[in-house]
Symmetry: C2
Subunit: 250 residues, 2 copies
């Protein structure tokens, strides 16, 4: 199944977008998935298809933030987002740390585990800042989670509140990531409790998986200048690319 990352077709809508192999599409037809609910081709880490951009994230758009004391929120930030931030930024420093982020997200989403929170911080914070995020990054993070929540709900086809390997693959595809099952299996093994039962993910773990894939894929793309699905690293670059994920993921 490694052909996901290597085979390309004229259907691709971006230079880095490998097409789905015919076997995958056949499998989809066999499983009765709706053809209209997914793009026909995608790539690792390509931007969301226009189809998904038509579904705005939960609080990502709305009333103006002009009434807020915070000047850092982008215009149009929903008041609920600003309120969630203000509620936890008790010292009004304009920045929140990981525990505060965990509390802030509880009001609009759920209480995420700290591992997921650390990955969110790591991927959304200003790289020049310490381990904290400001209004702009918080708004982007909130909006991203809204989008992921919508995708998650759409691909939880049996409405179990959990998604399995195939639903995860499709949901990630909906986010623009064509991830080979072999790679997904490594990631899913993280949630194997050893009971022999099928591994399924709640939204928290889905976000955790998605962030790891998003982060690593974007790093890979930075080195895959010609978008051919191949990247060359020297030793320092490789270590400097991978280590921050291990450091963030504590």
């Amino acid at each position: 199944m490694s052909s996901y990352g290597r085979s390309y077709s004229s259907e691709s809508y971006a230079p880095s977008a490998p097409s789905l192999p015919e076997s995958y599409r056949q499998q989809e037809r066999d499983r009765g998935a709706s053809g209209s609910a997914r793009p026909q081709s995608s790539g690792y880490g390509v931007h969301q298809n226009q189809q998904y951009q038509q579904h705005p994230p939960a609080y990502g758009q709305g009333q103006s933030s002009s009434s807020s004391g915070y000047s850092g929120f982008p215009p149009g930030t929903h008041p609920d987002v600003i309120r969630s931030f203000e509620m936890v930024d008790v010292d009004r420093s304009g920045y929140i740390d990981e525990k505060e982020l965990q509390r802030a997200l509880s009001s609009g989403y759920q209480r995420f585990n700290l591992r997921t929170i650390r990955l969110l911080m790591f991927l959304f914070k200003n790289p020049h800042d310490a381990l904290r995020i400001g209004p702009k990054e918080f708004a982007a993070l909130w909006s991203c989670l809204g989008q992921w929540r919508a995708i998650y709900d759409r691909y939880d086809r049996d409405r179990s509140g959990k998604i399995d390997l195939f639903e995860l693959r499709d949901a990630l595809y909906g986010l623009g990531y064509a991830v080979p099952p072999s790679v997904l299996q490594i990631l899913m093994s993280k949630y194997d409790d050893g009971s022999g039962r099928k591994i399924e993910l709640g939204f928290d773990s889905f976000v955790e998986c998605g962030l790891i894939l998003k982060g690593l894929t974007e790093k890979f793309k930075e080195k895959d200048k010609r978008y051919v699905g191949q990247a060359t690293f020297n030793y320092d670059e490789f270590m400097s690319t991978v280590l921050p994920f291990l450091v963030a993921y504590d």
Copy 2:
């Protein structure tokens, strides 16, 4: 300082061994380090210099294991190593899990944190096995820790029981890893408690750092077939290389 991974000299004793830049050696002279205590050139992940192989690990060699009920230990395994294994393998299955490994190592070394234990398991277990290790892997792991302990003690020059960034660099060098300071700084940031104090590592954290570097470096080397300090990955390979570290590191 990225020249560590890129510049090579005729002094190198292995094809993949970048030499130390002159600036590094000058710095060493300035710091008064003993020239005879370190190899003059090394590389990322090259095998230990003969000098270090002359110092056998704590329990890695010794009496025969012929009296043991376990047939899986290599000939010459020290009885203390076998005893540590037997002590925790209460069901005599011939395998121990992560909690048992933590207990087994407590008798000869110290109680390592579970993160370090998981990395040890991940890097030493048979890749085809579940999350458990047998006598052969346990003996190798014990021996490796003995070697690392000796190196750690040697480079803790001020006998503080902790090592700082420079001592870590030198200790890793002693283990055969020439790691650029920029990479080490990322790794050290993991142990920054935000107090502004100098970051120092105990033996547990030293082992954790060492295992991460050893594991990633060996993966890099597998793709650096010509030992030129450069490796090309396709997307699937990159993800399949990096993800297991994130999965192991829970």
